[in-house]
Symmetry: none
Subunit: 225 residues, 4 copies
DNA sequence: CATGAATGAGTGTTCATTCAT
DNA sequence: CATGAATGAACACTCATTCAT
C-alpha cells in the first residue's frame, strides 16, 4: 500500500508533517482555549488546568508555551485585538463616499470582528484586571487605545475636511464612539447575563441609533439656506 | 405620671457608651474599607484580612458583620448605589425648567455622588464578577439598572411631552446616557490608570460634549421656518 | 407597702430569693445543656455558643462558671456518673435474696439511671476524647471504672460465698457485665443512629438474655446429684 | 507470528518507573498514615497536615488522592474492615469440626486481623463521629454490621443444626459476641490508655473466658441422663 | 454578676508552578 | 517535547477565649 507520497520539493513548508503542523498550531489553540475560559469565568477564577483541558493538552504543555498565567493572559489580549486594527486602517485609507457611511462601515466591521465575538470579553478582562497588572495597562494603551483613537480620528477629520461635519472636538467624537462600543461589549456581562431581562439589546439597532444621534449632532445643517 | 427624669442638657442618652457607638458605626466603616479594597484590587485579589486591617479591626470582627466575602461584596454594592437613585428620582419629580437642563442636573448629580467617588469602581467589579455570581446579576438589574432606566426614561419623556424633544426611542436615548456614564466610570481603570496617558479625560467637559451632541440630535429644530 | 417578709430564722437556706436560687441552679443548668450538646454532636463539634444558647445564657456567663471547654466537659462527666454509684453500693449492701436477682436489680437500676438516659452518651464521649485528655482517663478510671468493678465484684463474690455461683474469675464476670452495658450504651451511636436498621435492640430483652447466658454459665449445677 | 520480543530475565516491565510505582502505592501509604493519626488523635483533632507529613508527602498530594477529610476517613474505614469479612466467611464455609471450635477460630482470626491491630481504633472513630456523618452510619451498617451478623449467625446456626447448641435466639448470641469484641476494641481507649491501671486485660484470656461462659450457657447438657 | 463584641490562632482546601520521567 | 504527580504558599472561614461595659 503506497505510503503518503513525499511532498514535492519546495512545497514542504506548505504542508508540514502532522506532528509539526500540530506544534505550529498549538499556540493558537492554547490562546483560543484561554480566551474562552478567561471570558467566561474571569481571570482569577480560571484555572490553568481548565485552559489545558479545553485545549486538549496537559498543564505542563501549557507552561511550555507560556511561562505564567499572566503571560498567557497578555498573549490572549495581544492575539485578539491587534490584528483587527490594521484592517480598519485600510478601510479608512481606501474609502470613497460620504464619511457617515465610512463610520457605519467601521462600526459594522468592528462589530463583526470584535464586538460579536468572544474577543469582546477581553475588554471586560482588561477592565477587571488591569489594576493588578501595570504593564497590561501600558500595553493596552499603546496597542489598542491609541491606534483606535487614530483610526477613528482620521475618519472624523476626513468628514470635517470634506465639509460633511461641523468642526467639532475630534477627541470628543471618538470617545462618543468608543463609549458606544464599550457599552455593547459590556452589555452581555451586565444585565445581558440574565436569561430574561427587560432591556434586550439588539446591537445593530443600537449602533444605528447611536450613530444617527451622533451624526445628527455632527453634520452640517443642510438645505435651509 | 413619673417619667424617667430628663437627662441633663447635652443629652447623655444620645451618646451611648463607646462600645455601642462603635458597633453602630462598624458596618459603614467596614463597607467603606471593603469598597476601597475591592475597587483597588478587584474582588478575587482582595483578602478579607486586607479589608479588616483597613477598617482597623480583626478578621473575626469582619465576619461578625458579614457572613462571607460574597455577602460583603453585595452589601458594598447595595450601600453604594441604591441610596443615590431615590435622590435622582426626587429631582425629576420637582424639576422646573427646560428638560435639557434637567438632564444636565441629573448628570452632574450622578457625577458628584457616584462617578467621581470610589463608588464608580463598583461598576468595574460588577462587570468583572457578575459572571460568577448569578444572584448579583439579578440584584444589579433590579436595584440599579431598572431604576436608572425608569429615572432617565421619565426625564426624556418629560422633554417629549413638553415639546422640547423630538419623539425618539426613549430606550435608545437612555442607553446613550448610560453608555456615557459607563465610559466615565471605567476610564480610570482603563487608560486612566496610567500616570501619563495621551487622552486626559476631563469629566465635566466630556459630559458637556456628550450632552451637547445628544441634545442636538434630540431637540426639535427651532426657529428656521 | 410591706416588703417581702424576712424569712424566719433557720429557714433562709430553704427558700432563697429568686435570684439566688437562679444562681444556685445555674451550674446544673449549664451542665445539662452541655451534656445534651456534647452527646448529640460530639465534643469537638460542639461550640461553647451552642451550650450557652441552650442554657439560655450568654457565652461570657458560661465562662464564669467553667474556665474552659475541657473543664466543662470534665464537670459534665463528673456530674453524670458519680452519684449513681453510691446508690448501687447501697443496693448490694442491703439486698436479701438470691444473687441472680441482685444482679438483675443492679442491671435494671443502672439502665434506668444511666443506660436509658442521656448520660449513656458520656461513655461515647470518654471513649472518643480520652486520648487527648490524659487527666480524664485517670479521673474516669478512679471515679467510674474502679467503683463499678468493686460494686459488681462484691455482688459476684456474694453469689460465690452463698454457694449460688461456681468459683469463677470475678474480674471476668464483671467484665462480661460491663461489656453488655457498654454495648447497650454505644448501640444508639452505632447502628442505632439510623432510622431503620435491621437489628432493633430492645434493651430489656437484651439484658435479660445476656444475664441468662451469664448465669447459666455461672450457676452451680443443681439437682442432678 | 512475530511477538514482541520477550523481555530479558527479571522482567523489566514488571518494575515500573519509580514515579509510577510510587503512585500505585500512595493510596495505601496515605490510608495507613491516616489510620494511625485518626486513631491516636481522633478525627477532629487530626490535621490533614499531620496525615500528609506522616505519609511523607505534602498536603497537596493528600488532596490529590482524597478530595476531603471526610472522604479520607471513609476510605480508611473501608480499607481496614471490609477485606477481613470475606476471610471470615470462608472460614465458616469450610470449617469441619465442632462449632465451639469454629467460634474460637473466628474470634482469634478477628483478633489477629482487627482487634490487635490499629484497625480496632476505627470502631472508636465510628462511634465518636457517626453522629455528624449520616452516610457513614449507613455505610458502616451495610458494610460491617450486617455482614458480621450474617457471618456469626451462620456459625451459631450451624451449631444448632448439628445438635451442639440449644435452640437459642441467634441474634442474642451474636450480640453477645459483638459485645465482647467491642469491649476489647475500646479497652485501650478507656482504662487501657493509662500506663498503670488495675485491670490489665489479656485479650486471649478475656476471649477464652467469655467464650467459655457463652458456650456453657449455650451447649446442650450432655451425658448426665 | 452578666453580657456579647472583639480577637487571632488554627485548619481545610485550592491552585499556580515545578520537574522527574 | 509532553506529561501529570508533587509541591507549598495562600486564603476563606471558625471558634475558644477575653474583657470593656
Amino acid at each position: 500500500m503506497p505510503k503518503t507520497p513525499a511532498p514535492p520539493l519546495g512545497d514542504a513548508a506548505a504542508t508540514p508533517p502532522a506532528r509539526q503542523r500540530r506544534k505550529a498550531e498549538r499556540p493558537q489553540e492554547l490562546l483560543d482555549a484561554a480566551l474562552a475560559q478567561f471570558v467566561s469565568k474571569g481571570l482569577a477564577a480560571t484555572r490553568m488546568d481548565d485552559v489545558a483541558r479545553q485545549a486538549g493538552v496537559s498543564k505542563g504543555t501549557l507552561y511550555l508555551y507560556y511561562p505564567s498565567k499572566d503571560e498567557l493572559f497578555k498573549a490572549v489580549v495581544r492575539n485578539s485585538v491587534v490584528t483587527v486594527l490594521t484592517e480598519g486602517s485600510d478601510i479608512v485609507d481606501r474609502f470613497e463616499g460620504p464619511t457617515s457611511e465610512l463610520l457605519h462601515t467601521l462600526m459594522h466591521t468592528w462589530w463583526s470582528r470584535i464586538g460579536a465575538s468572544k474577543a469582546s470579553g477581553i475588554f471586560k478582562l482588561v477592565v477587571a484586571d488591569v489594576g493588578n497588572m501595570p504593564e497590561l495597562a501600558q500595553f493596552y494603551l499603546d496597542e489598542v487605545i491609541v491606534p483606535t483613537h487614530q483610526l477613528l480620528g482620521r475618519a472624523v477629520e476626513r468628514g470635517v475636511a470634506r465639509g460633511e461635519f461641523r468642526a467639532f472636538d475630534v477627541t470628543a467624537v471618538v470617545q462618543s464612539l468608543m463609549a458606544s462600543a464599550q457599552f455593547l461589549m459590556l452589555y452581555p456581562y451586565c444585565v445581558g447575563s440574565l436569561p430574561d431581562h427587560p432591556f434586550p439589546l439588539d446591537a445593530e439597532t443600537f449602533m444605528k441609533t447611536q450613530m444617527e444621534l451622533l451624526l445628527h449632532g455632527l453634520e452640517v445643517p443642510r438645505g435651509h439656506a
